[in-house]
């Protein structure tokens, strides 16, 4: 199998412009004859659904939440990047492109990333026009901040709630199209399967989460905007409902899953407090702009601290190790996420971690408060400090915060070409659900950018190219493929409900999460991964023989919802392990302990691994087939990332 990424010819900066001219167009009068299904209503889904409806397509939008406004994009805090160069500090489309490719440790496609940087400027214009209340300077123009290791201030933000405001902007555009009758909304509806007819995606099967009804929906194209799969780790900063089911079902229907092991571990999360923990809470990375990360210089001091014999503020300056500032003098606390996370893990592994668990480091605002005053710090981070205090019961104005890395984002996802189409014709993946733009590590404030770029400015062009080559007119749901898929789903539900085993669903999810975190988390080894694979296989067998799913299908049944999702997470977990085992190098969020520089930095192997690892599902119980898409770098020189 050969993957065609359909990257346009020509110089990097002209590819998208040329491509937009070369794609086929659907006649305005014909657009109303095409139906498009959009699954997920986060930034990518809502923006795509609204934009396609504005063009005249008939859109059906699905989400499992009770309202499109609740998609987890809403929780993004820090901001959104755009190469506006409003600050006159040397930013440009090329610099954003370069930073993103470099930040992704050279495992992303140049052409996609360049396009992302190019359309980033239009996103800000669009959002402002919708009424998104971005932060402003006193002169009335937009404010920017530097974010997540960037050397320029290109991040636009709305207090600590940028994701919320951008999502509500996209949601408002979507709502307008609902009112216009161009979008039909299906909240509390979960996608259960993709239906392909003659190799093309022609619709989906859904379950109405209130009534349990299994329904078929047909369309000329299906867009999966279903986010990432971080919840495979059980504990992550994702929402409780975030899941891989839509993407995984697409994968099992033929769509390739690319780089599934590329997971981002975010350095600034509130540490785990106990076994009851249901999710982790992220605090914006912007905190690292003013907060200083440290641990006690010696194990002994750390020990005393953990036992509660001394307090953080008792520790003298010379007994503190500001390890990021020490190791990376030029970037200091602002090194990229993967570097910051890994170093936190190292110092904790050395026994210098804080908190009762020993799995936390300090993020200290003492010096910033001394320098700028409490009011300025409060104006910048007040809501984050409040949130921290709410959760931990400690006051970060007086005591240093404690943070620890947590799973946050998945760079991997469904393989897509330059048009965002998977290898299944008519099936697209947008936003975090695809793999395309962030390589092995995503820069801060780039997820919002990518979600909206895909939805507002890429898919409206590229979908036309496919639709124009496919006849318009109604597609019925009476095709045998729909009935077959419906039956498969009903059988699966029956099977889950009839196991009636001894263990709860969360029991399996927690076990899976622990396996993934221990062996496929921040640091991975061949030995550990092999062990993990065996454990997951075992877990899967046990799940399907001993899980207890309560209730019936014909009702609101959160156990059943969860069971479907966990079953898919288990299968995904195994593939992630396969992918991590295959990639005998360290890059970005994927750190194989066998492959590191003498200083302990990630050691890439560009000769053998400068490719996208796309995996093809071959059938139940069979090993997946690896399909490689070589990554060709014509514009940037591959270097060892250095933040020293």
């Amino acid at each position: 199998m050969i993957l065609d990424s359909k990257i346009p010819e020509g110089p990097l900066a002209e590819k998208w412009t040329k491509h937009k001219f070369n794609v086929k167009l659907v006649n305005p009068a014909n657009k109303r004859k095409y139906d498009v299904i959009v699954v997920g209503t986060g930034l990518a889904g809502a923006s795509a659904a609204a934009s396609l409806a504005e063009l005249g397509y008939n859109v059906k939008a699905f989400c499992f939440q009770d309202s499109p406004r609740r998609a987890h994009s809403i929780a993004a805090q820090g901001g959104i990047n755009a190469a506006k160069n409003y600050q006159n500090d040397g930013d440009s489309v090329y610099r954003l492109f370069y930073d993103t490719v470099k930040g992704g440790d050279y495992r992303a496609r140049e052409a996609n990333v360049y396009r992302l940087a190019e359309v980033s400027v239009k996103i800000i214009d669009q959002c402002v026009a919708q009424g998104v209340p971005f932060a402003r300077e006193y002169g009335g123009l937009l404010a920017n901040r530097s974010f997540g290791g960037a050397q320029v201030s290109r991040t636009f933000y709305a207090r600590g709630q940028t994701g919320q405001q951008l999502l509500l902007g996209a949601y408002s555009a979507l709502s307008r199209q609902v009112a216009n009758g161009k979008v039909k909304l299906y909240p509390r509806t979960e996608m259960m399967d993709v239906v392909t007819i003659d190799g093309k995606a022609r619709g989906i099967i859904t379950r109405n989460l209130i009534t349990g009804a299994i329904e078929s929906h047909s369309a000329h194209a299906v867009l999966l905007c279903t986010g990432g799969y971080g919840n495979v780790f059980f504990l992550s900063t994702n929402a409780m409902g975030s899941n891989v089911t839509a993407a995984w079902r697409a994968h099992k229907k033929g769509a390739l899953m690319a780089n599934p092991c590329f997971t981002q571990i975010h350095p600034t999360c509130i540490p785990v407090s106990g076994d009851h923990q249901s999710k982790l809470t992220l605090m914006s990375e912007s905190l690292r702009n003013d907060g200083r990360v440290w641990v006690p210089a010696t194990q002994e001091t750390a020990e005393k601290l953990r036992k509660g014999q001394i307090k953080a503020n008792d520790i003298k300056e010379e007994d503190r190790d500001y390890f990021l500032e020490r190791k990376y003098p030029s970037f200091g606390n602002l090194v990229p996420r993967d570097v910051a996370s890994r170093n936190a893990k190292y110092v904790c592994d050395e026994g210098r971690g804080v908190n009762e668990t020993g799995e936390a480091v300090f993020l200290d605002f003492r010096d910033a408060i001394k320098r700028d005053g409490k009011d300025i710090i409060s104006a910048k981070y007040g809501n984050l400090f409040d949130m921290y205090q709410q959760i931990t019961g400690e006051n970060p104005y007086e005591m240093p915060m404690m943070i620890y890395p947590a799973v946050h984002y998945t760079m991997g996802g469904l393989w897509v070409d330059y048009n965002l189409m998977t290898n299944v014709p008519g099936l697209y993946a947008l936003g975090e659900a695809n793999f395309s733009d962030h390589g092995a590590n995503r820069l801060g404030a780039s997820a919002l950018m990518q979600g909206l770029a895909d939805g507002y400015f890429v898919i409206p062009y590229t979908i036309g190219d496919y639709l124009a080559q496919n006849p318009a007119g109604k597609i019925g749901t009476d095709h045998p493929e729909f009935q077959k898929a419906e039956k498969e789903i009903k059988d699966r539900i029956q099977k889950l409900l009839s196991i009636k085993g001894q263990k709860t669903i969360d029991h399996f999810h927690k076990r899976l999460g622990k396996i993934m975190w221990d062996y496929c988390g921040m640091a991975r080894t061949e030995e550990g991964l092999k062990k993990a694979k065996a454990m997951i296989k075992e877990l899967k067998a046990e799940f399907w023989s001993n899980v207890n799913v309560l209730g019936d299908n014909e009702e609101l049944n959160q156990s059943l919802e969860k069971a479907h999702r966990v079953a898919d997470f288990i299968e995904l977990g195994e593939l992630m392990v396969d992918d991590a085992l295959n990639r005998n190098e360290s890059c970005g969020g994927h750190f194989r302990e066998e492959y590191q520089t003498p200083e302990g930095e990630a050691l890439r192997d560009d000769e053998n691994f400068a490719y996208v690892a796309a995996w093809k599902y071959l059938g139940e119980g069979q090993e997946e087939e690896l399909v490689k898409e070589p990554l060709i770098f014509e514009n940037v020189k591959l270097t060892q990332r250095s933040y020293k």
């Binding site: 504005e54 987890h72 402003r136 709630q161 994701g163 919320q164 909304l185 407090s273 949130m387 156990s559």
Partner: protein, 249 residues
């Protein structure tokens, strides 16, 4: 901590429903309220009993999905979302009563889960600026005074959880509706459709069966995001000036 939970159980929308008592032990003060319910649900599931259904998603206080009426207050004793409420706000041996949001416009679907799609329909009635994707001016061509942008942001922070409706003695959606009307009335982008927006959103709010506003201020006091009732006054202004001057007869 040991607790007695008095939880509203209702099989579906047509079921009458009623309270059921549960004893729960071994609860840590560091748990969030929803994690405490997770523990209960794990126990119930292990016993083969149907777990208590409640809405929740992000557990970060921003998605607005969690929605419990705890001990007589929406989102419980703190002015925060239920997911950010921690058990340290309760004491050992306490009885905690948990009810769903109560409003005609928010019918109960199961246990503590309600249907809040009425809020979506209010936004669909006009809570947007009608601009298509593309073809908009450069972002900095619309200068907005910082104070105005900040006020708009104050209103825009609404998470649509419905605590205002739950808190209001009339189950009124004025705070929710006015937050969106205000945000867009304050910003230059919202001026073009200002009048029609106020008229349509108020009409939809009424059509959904929400109550009227008695200005008790309970909504503001219980709003986890601190949305102010000055927004309600602004919406009233917007509405009254719209009905007397708009072209919509």
């Amino acid at each position: 901590m040991n607790l007695t939970l008095k939880i509203w159980r209702q099989k579906n929308n047509s079921d009458k429903g009623g309270f059921k008592d549960y004893k729960l032990g071994g609860i840590s003060k560091d748990m969030s309220f929803l994690e405490m319910l997770d523990v209960l649900n794990e126990e119930l599931s292990a016993k083969g009993e149907d777990p208590v259904h409640f809405d929740h998603d992000c557990r970060e206080g921003i998605c607005g999905m969690c929605s419990l009426y705890i001990n007589g207050k929406p989102h419980g004793p703190q002015q925060t979302t239920t997911c950010q409420l921690h058990m340290r706000s309760f004491s050992d041996g306490e009885t905690i009563t948990i009810e769903p949001w109560r409003a005609k416009a928010f019918p109960v679907l199961k246990d503590l889960v309600t249907d809040r799609s009425a809020f979506d329909r209010i936004i669909q009635a006009g809570g947007y600026v009608s601009v298509n994707t593309g073809g908009v001016p450069d972002a900095n061509e619309i200068p907005i005074p910082k104070t105005i942008a900040d006020m708009a942001m104050d209103a825009a922070q609404c998470i649509g959880c419905g605590a205002c409706v739950a808190a209001c003695k009339n189950a009124s959606a004025m705070l929710f509706t006015s937050a969106k009307v205000s945000q867009l009335a304050l910003l230059p982008q919202g001026q073009v459709e200002r009048k029609t927006r106020a008229e349509k959103m108020v009409a939809q709010m009424d059509a959904e069966g929400f109550g009227a506003c008695t200005n008790t201020g309970a909504c503001e006091a219980e709003c986890p995001k601190g949305i102010s009732i000055t927004n309600i006054a602004r919406m009233n202004r917007e509405y009254f000036s719209a009905v007397v001057s708009s072209q919509n007869v």
